[in-house]
Symmetry: C2
Subunit: 606 residues, 2 copies
């Protein structure tokens, strides 16, 4: 193909445009000419920074937002070396480019969209600290120490020493409370960064958080969305992994990634000494009382973990069993029982279906409308472009998918989601009709932006249908919709419309509270209030009051409580955002200055 | 780049040449014109087939060899659809191409080298059976069963059922004896192919085969060479993994790949019923006696596993400890002891170095010359093109590296290896000089073809230097070279030159016997003799007597004993050749005809 290679290259206008913009932007930044730099953004524009400029997770809007951000961060960041990492592309009048650059202390990558006016969206993300690069690829550890050396320790001896001493004679820099996928993903990254870390969890083994749930539970997100850092699920892994299989994976992952995972361990109290910048955390490790002194405390105890129980009259006199959905052991013991499930979101549906399959008499009480999406439709219409076998075949990597996802600012994400769910409504019109005919109250989010926005805003209000909706539609799962619970009697649930439902078991699938409730339990109500509500965007929709935050409240970023962090979310978020949290923690350990721009303000206590 | 794409395409002569050859070859095969097909090969030529034509691992040579192979296999194979899978390349007068085709029952891929006369080398390999494709990628299992279904079992319940019933109420189709990397890799492939399989091993847990060895042991092959099927080591994995870390990886792998792995289990006897085509295998599973009836029995007990002990006068009166190298527990107990190590290959060096590091007084007795290669040189000069971080960065995949390796027939491999080791000798001339000055007897293989040929021919006779040679050169490890052992006294080893070496411990690093010795132990000497020697090429060099075999004797292919197979080798071989063995077993289970061309002949008993 020599002949072709010798032909004169044409200059792609998208390439020229991006290269010019990056060069001009860098010139303005180097000259500390903030007005010029801000003027290169469109009137309506969004700059999302993950830790590279702001040591925070922050989105600023418009030229004023850019100006403010740069005024606070430019001198200390010293950004330079902006360049593209792939050939930019143009579509629908927008030129998109993958970029990279350096800061004074690290290396960063990002994404740029240019419209007629200038930058429409800019994503900037730190991915490594100079001098503290992960030992991987060309820099992976050698393993064997070649040569001979009297008295040297083997890998196993060093590991045994660490297991014996960390938390006793040596203190962890980070303590992660909660060893689900969140704690494990973060622990793996910290291990690679050389940050001494202990993960504690009340369950005996990694993965028990999943194993202990109801037996029919499978992931509702598909495999391509669920990879942990460093080790991908293999190509034969199921699309929707069953809970016990995920449990086994997490257990092996914690082992081969050499995490210091303390099972059967509970934290009984934690307090922070502002003077020494150190936590004192009392833990019960399988009966042994230990005191830990980490500098950083990460609560990874679950976005959906702090159970919220209703207070109905008569709960104290009901003679049957009452469980929060998180405590439901599965249907086995209830084959011939009458069960009332209060709630109509994911857990309520899964639990009702499994009970019906086992032969129980099940009634679902739907108190308010629910957003339902069929799993197949969600995969095909909403996720397939980034997370699917087809995406992988077309060259999409997990990292690129995550970065593409991250490049869309939350403020405008709903706009892009509305057409997706419009399409799903058309596609599944018959399905939704049948549900409505059965009396089920449907919604698609307050602005019709669907499931993912509900997840980001409130973490609730939806069911990804994997089969239960059909049972609701055909009456196999009995439905009482648009009613509340009046009270419980000794053997029944009485609804606000007067219906009395005889019950042997009542399951409260009534959701979860804000994660700062964990801080209240472990540290104090004062600290929980100081930190404020966790999760949500400030979208001013149900369960997500304004003002607008731009990012998810208090997640993966500095809080009003020095040394206290929240980590969690689905497997996608645990994978992607654990990187930014890990870099923030590593920088602090190494004494790298981390001036935080736009520290989280507190508008709501829970 | 539209302008360039519109330019008329030039026809690459290499592409044209390969396409013409493949089309002509297919025409000749479809016409069953064997003379014409054979005439398309060069006078000196090699066709290596792995299971696609021959249901065997076979290399034939020259046009006569091709003719014979096709006469026996063409009608049943029905090969068709030959095409290239990448753009062919030309270098040094040889055109190389990656190809694919189909047979009557499966899909195959391979590699072709054309010289002036025609095909110089052809590699053809089966990779899947039609109708029995692995559930992976686009066809991966769904995991969750969407919909509702009364009484359905969860993944865990099905797995629990299998663990409880297989080997009791249900019989495995395959029994693999030996649960090291070989048994585990094969077990994983059989699992994916739906072949009911049990792996038994005398150690309690997967990986204990590695954990139990001397403490300084690390892999001598680098990480890129060592991946198991399905799950690659992560990018942070050490180049030369320490033994315990490999042990942990194997344990997790067996778990997440859902292998039926019976630890603490020994086979006490096995016999084959020719009439029923079934084995009767008595096993002791942690004290419980069970009888298994597999159709296929795979011995994966280790190429280096059947220890070979010398018979020296006085071994019965020596009062100290005597160990075969495979039994050596590590140096801890011998810090102030006098140790004599008989042998000068890998284990001898590793054990001597670890003993010296611990403070022991160590003497190595070298009875014959040894091939030494420094690990760094081996990585850089011999392996880096296919198995290195640089190779990965340039687009080399594990599969392509394995296939490239496989594409070079064993008959001419030595020719290609000689310059590699010539280069290493130049590079490390000082190192080799120092060793010789210390009296160490060096060789580079009988034909100077170096380490890998020694490995393939005899599996011994070398040390990959990771530090011990320096101790030999500088006298820290004492050396007695060119002598034999005359006898042992109560407290010493007396050499053939009259030297008497006082000893508290004698380690016999004297190597291993042929794997058919396992068959003698487990089944009978008669069956061991019927099968004959395992491993080696028939190169007519030391410990590998002729005649020339073309492939490794009895490995991964049918033996003279119906239903008896040998599997093993290093991690590379365990990964790559487990595919062909798994396909042979699966085909037999499904009743697909598997006419074996050129069944292994027996020329040597051990």
């Amino acid at each position: 193909m020599t002949a072709l290679q010798d032909a004169p290259a044409t200059v792609d206008p998208a390439v020229a445009r991006v290269n010019t913009w990056l060069a001009d932007f860098e010139d303005a930044l180097v000259a500390r000419d903030i007005d010029r730099a801000a003027g290169m953004f469109a009137t309506t524009s969004f700059w999302r920074d993950l830790v590279s400029f702001t040591w925070n997770l922050t989105t600023v809007e418009g030229r004023d937002g850019v100006t403010e951000l740069l005024q606070s961060t430019l001198d200390s960041t010293h950004p330079h070396g902006f360049h593209t990492t792939e050939t930019p592309e143009e579509a629908d009048g927008v030129t998109s480019a993958w970029i990279a650059f350096e800061t004074a202390v690290g290396r960063a990558r990002g994404h740029l969209r240019l419209n007629d006016e200038g930058a429409f969206t800019l994503l900037t993300t730190l991915y490594e600290l100079k001098g503290y690069e992960e030992a991987a690829g060309l820099d992976r550890p050698k393993g064997a120490e070649h040569g001979a050396n009297k008295g040297r320790l083997s890998w196993q001896e060093k590991r045994d020493h660490e297991l014996a001493e960390l938390g006793r004679t040596e203190q962890p820099y980070v303590l992660i409370v909660g060893g689900g996928q969140g704690g494990i993903a973060l622990g793996a990254r910290l291990r690679q960064l050389g940050v001494p870390t202990i993960i504690v969890d009340s369950h005996a083994r990694p993965g028990d958080q999943w194993r202990g749930r109801y037996k029919s539970l499978c992931l509702h997100d598909p495999v391509w969305y669920d990879h942990l850092p460093y080790i991908d699920f293999p190509k034969n892994w199921p699309i929707f992994a069953p809970k016990d299989k995920i449990g086994d994976w997490l257990e092996m992952y914690a082992k081969v990634m050499e995490l210091n995972y303390w099972g059967s361990t509970t934290c009984t109290s934690a307090s922070y000494d502002e003077a020494t910048g150190e936590w004192t955390v009392l833990v019960d490790r399988d009966g042994e009382q230990l005191t830990l002194h980490p500098k950083q405390l990460v609560l990874a105890t679950g976005v959906s973990g702090k159970k919220r129980l209703p207070a109905f009259a008569g709960m104290d006199i009901f003679r049957g069993e009452q469980q929060h959905s998180s405590e439901h052991p599965g249907p086995q013991a209830y084959a011939d029982k009458k069960v009332v499930v209060i709630g109509s979101n994911n857990s309520a549906h899964d639990i009702c279906a499994a009970l019906w399959e086992t032969g129980a008499d099940v009634t679902m009480v739907q108190r308010s409308s629910t957003h339902i999406v069929r799993s197949d439709s969600l995969m095909t219409v909403a996720l397939a472009g980034l997370y699917s076998e087809e995406a992988v075949a077309s060259g999409m990597t997990t990292q690129k998918a995550d970065m593409t996802f991250a490049s869309l600012p939350y403020r405008i994400m709903a706009e892009f989601q509305i057409p997706v769910y419009d399409e799903i409504r058309r596609r599944d019109a018959d399905f939704y009709d049948r549900l409505e005919k059965a009396g089920f109250m449907l919604d698609y989010g307050e602005d019709n932006s669907g499931l993912f926005m509900k997840y980001l805003r409130r973490g609730s209000g939806y069911y990804i249908d994997v089969g239960a909706s059909e049972l609701v539609a055909n009456g196999d799962i009995k439905l009482k919709a648009g009613v509340g619970v009046e009270r419980l009697t000794e053997d029944s649930v009485v609804l606000t419309d007067g219906t009395e439902l005889p019950a042997d078991l009542v399951v409260y699938a009534t959701g979860y509270g804000s994660m700062n409730g964990w801080a209240a339990d472990l540290i104090s109500q004062k600290v929980a209030d100081k930190v404020g509500k966790v999760w949500g965007l400030g979208s001013d929709t149900a369960k997500d009051p304004g003002p607008w935050e731009g990012e998810q409240r208090n997640m993966w970023k500095p809080t009003q409580q020095e040394g206290l962090w929240f980590h969690g979310g689905n497997l996608h978020q645990s994978r992607h955002y654990s990187l930014y949290l890990a870099l923030q923690l590593k920088a602090r350990m190494e004494g790298i200055p981390t001036p935080v721009y736009a520290l989280q303000e507190v508008h709501h206590l829970s």
